[in-house]
Symmetry: C2
Subunit: 433 residues, 2 copies
């Protein structure tokens, strides 16, 4: 297929949805991708680029002739255009923007000026705004007669002469109303809005909480400047929940199309940090070499206590991180939440202290060793529970992202406390000094 | 406020969005919640219940008089009604459904018959369907004159006499078209649909992939039976990404409003499974007690290798679990994906072997010990990479949920291999038998 048969290719690919075409492009080898786009020519819809992984997209745009890219991007809705432009470096952005009509260029530049991951980057600047004195009939006639409407829209926005948002009217309200009715009478004034500088996570939360389909975006002076639609938010929500999951596992923003080299460096850093904390825990063990030399069984048993504490702490931490991210934990219920986690840690600590104590007694036939391990277990599970809830809350308080850093600290606590509890308790109990 | 001042309360609460009222209810004590609802009486909107955590909702419904619940649920859209009913036991469901008009009861019962987490549970059965011969004018007039329209809608569905879906028309297309045009001419026939029995995760993926606002649901005979809207999908997407995160950490479907006792039992099981695997690893260490007795430093160093392998494997596993869940990894690229993960494991294994080897040499001043630990490190990181990618793929192949069980197996592998590699290598190197 890649052998240059443009007409055949166009016939094959022409009817595909851009998401499906995007998947095909992703599956091709890197040098075949620009060939495909070149062969398709005008038939290639640049919104396909939005569906690609970031690394594939950036590479492909670099490989394409700048004029092709500029022309393709010009046909897109503003939110898709911003999505493609924001990953390019400034020189490449300017080269493309210079080919645009002045008004469009200005509006795109303004969108790109908003911080990354803000509502301003997510919105499309095409929308329909009318005065409250318009009648429903006028709105319908306007839609019938205007050529250059946004590609899809779900609401009509009502603004005052200064372009400040008064409210919105969903299209179904328009259909239900009589032609003579003024939109000012059927407008829903109690509408949520987002500021262009709001974080996109907050935007997603508004959508989730109030079950919206579209959300008007206003600037600092309450003027309507854009609209965010639910289909874009579905993507954001997916990415954000994924971000926490990846952050907790230490794989950052990696995509499966990233190169081996990029992935290795990306993961290396997280492993390096963990290595330091592992040496810390090793240092704790090193303090008790005499004890281990006398009771070698401790070398096998101490990791059980440390690991179990780590698992319990990870449970607590995961719940805490997500509760913070979704704002489920706030000022009002923080005490109740912390209390609950400590109670749970205590109960599971007691249960596993008993279980492990009995297992060790049974295995080694030494009741005292069972008591030492059991005692250390309850200490470490409670320490893990405390760390699992306190560290994410503290990181959040200091305006860090709990998902990114909590994991390292929490397992450091459970490793160090776990080893110290087992070996310290054994040293004291058996009177080894 | 709880002291019985109904009017004052209604004034305070009346203007709140149901999501905000839901948060207030969640923050109250359990016995205050039914009081609040009782005081609000008819002013209480039962869609507030949809915003509550499951455990709070079920408890509250049990505490309310059945007649109140039945009346409240009757006013809801069908998807909200199903959402509330599905958590109740059958007797409670029937008690409520019996008070409904026959047609509504049948349609709700049919929705409840679809499997949990299916498209059929998610859809609302209120929608507008017209024949392709209708004109745009007729549709608008129909909307103006009909009282009992769905609460919000974004598309008109076009069906044949057998109620089979022919396509859909977005409301903005209706507004743009001339009154005389037949909807059959502006219908978008290339529309994605979902079957009622499809998994809601697949539904969410269709929304994400094709950037939809609403999606028609059809039954086995291609008849239109409902509609799913993007606002419901936002919730699903959030829950599904969260499910994987929680499964990986072993906290299941717990919510922060669950009781201490429920949470403890919920986490206990996962910890118990992990405890067994920890004993397995301890057994590996136990095999080499003689070696440890001679070189006590190994007791401090072996956990470093085991832990680092666990961290690297968790990275790989997390990427694999998500790639499987989002179908990013399929038949075509599985080999490329596995290759990439093994290469990354090898590179990081080599890097950390060098680093740890040098660190141990520096710390203990023994070059041979450094070589042993470094050698074990590269072995364990490669083993971890293999396990991290192979186990989720195998679990998926066997139709299990990779997120739920992979973690236990993967860290079992890295713990056992890590300890075995360090202690076995040391035993062989130093000739201890």
């Amino acid at each position: 297929i890649e052998a240059a048969d443009a007409a055949g290719l166009a016939a094959l690919v022409g009817d595909l949805h851009e998401a499906d075409l995007g998947e095909i492009i992703g599956a091709l080898d890197a040098d075949e991708r620009p060939l495909l786009v070149g062969l398709l020519g005008d038939a290639f819809d640049f919104s396909t680029l939005v569906e690609l992984d970031e690394s594939v997209r950036v590479q492909l745009i670099e490989d394409l002739p700048p004029a092709t890219v500029a022309e393709g991007v010009r046909d897109l809705d503003s939110d898709d255009a911003v999505y493609i432009l924001e990953d390019l470096d400034e020189a490449a952005q300017d080269a493309i923007l210079d080919t645009f009509p002045a008004a469009e260029r200005l509006s795109l530049e303004r969108s790109l000026d908003f911080p990354e991951e803000s509502a301003g980057r997510l919105m499309q600047t095409e929308f329909i705004a009318v005065a409250p004195t318009w009648t429903v009939g006028q709105v319908i006639d306007y839609c019938r007669e205007t050529e250059d409407l946004p590609e899809d829209f779900y609401e009509i926005h009502v603004v005052d002469p200064g372009f400040r948002l008064l409210g919105t009217v969903a299209l179904d309200r328009i259909l239900r109303a009589k032609r003579m009715q003024a939109v000012g009478e059927i407008v829903d004034e109690d509408r949520r809005t987002a500021r262009a500088t709001d974080d996109r996570e907050d935007v997603a939360r508004i959508f989730e909480r109030y079950n919206l389909i579209s959300l008007p975006v206003i600037d600092d002076e309450d003027r309507l400047i854009g609209v965010i639609t639910a289909d874009d938010v579905v993507d954001v929500v997916m990415e954000e929940a994924e971000e926490d999951l990846r952050a907790l596992a230490g794989v950052g923003d990696e995509e499966i199309s990233d190169t081996v080299w990029y992935t290795t460096r990306n993961r290396f850093l997280w492993l390096l940090v963990n290595l330091f904390t592992a040496f810390l825990a090793a240092g704790v063990i090193g303090l008790f070499e005499d004890t281990i030399a006398k009771i070698v069984a401790l070398a096998a048993l101490a990791p059980i206590v440390a690991g179990q504490g780590g698992n319990a702490a990870t449970q607590t931490m995961t719940v805490a991180v997500r509760a913070i991210a979704t704002r489920e934990v706030g000022r009002f219920n923080i005490a109740r939440f912390v209390n609950r986690e400590i109670m749970v840690s205590f109960l599971n600590g007691a249960a596993f202290a008993l279980l492990v104590g009995l297992a060790v007694w049974g295995w080694y036939g030494e009741r005292q060793l069972g008591a030492v391990i059991g005692g250390a277990m309850i200490v470490n599970l409670i320490a893990g529970g405390l760390a699992g809830v306190a560290i994410p809350l503290a990181v959040d308080k200091l305006n860090g992202d709990p998902a990114v850093i909590s994991g390292v600290f929490v397992t450091t606590v459970t490793d160090c406390v776990g080893f110290f509890a087992v070996l310290g308790l054994a040293t004291w109990w058996y009177g080894i000094v």
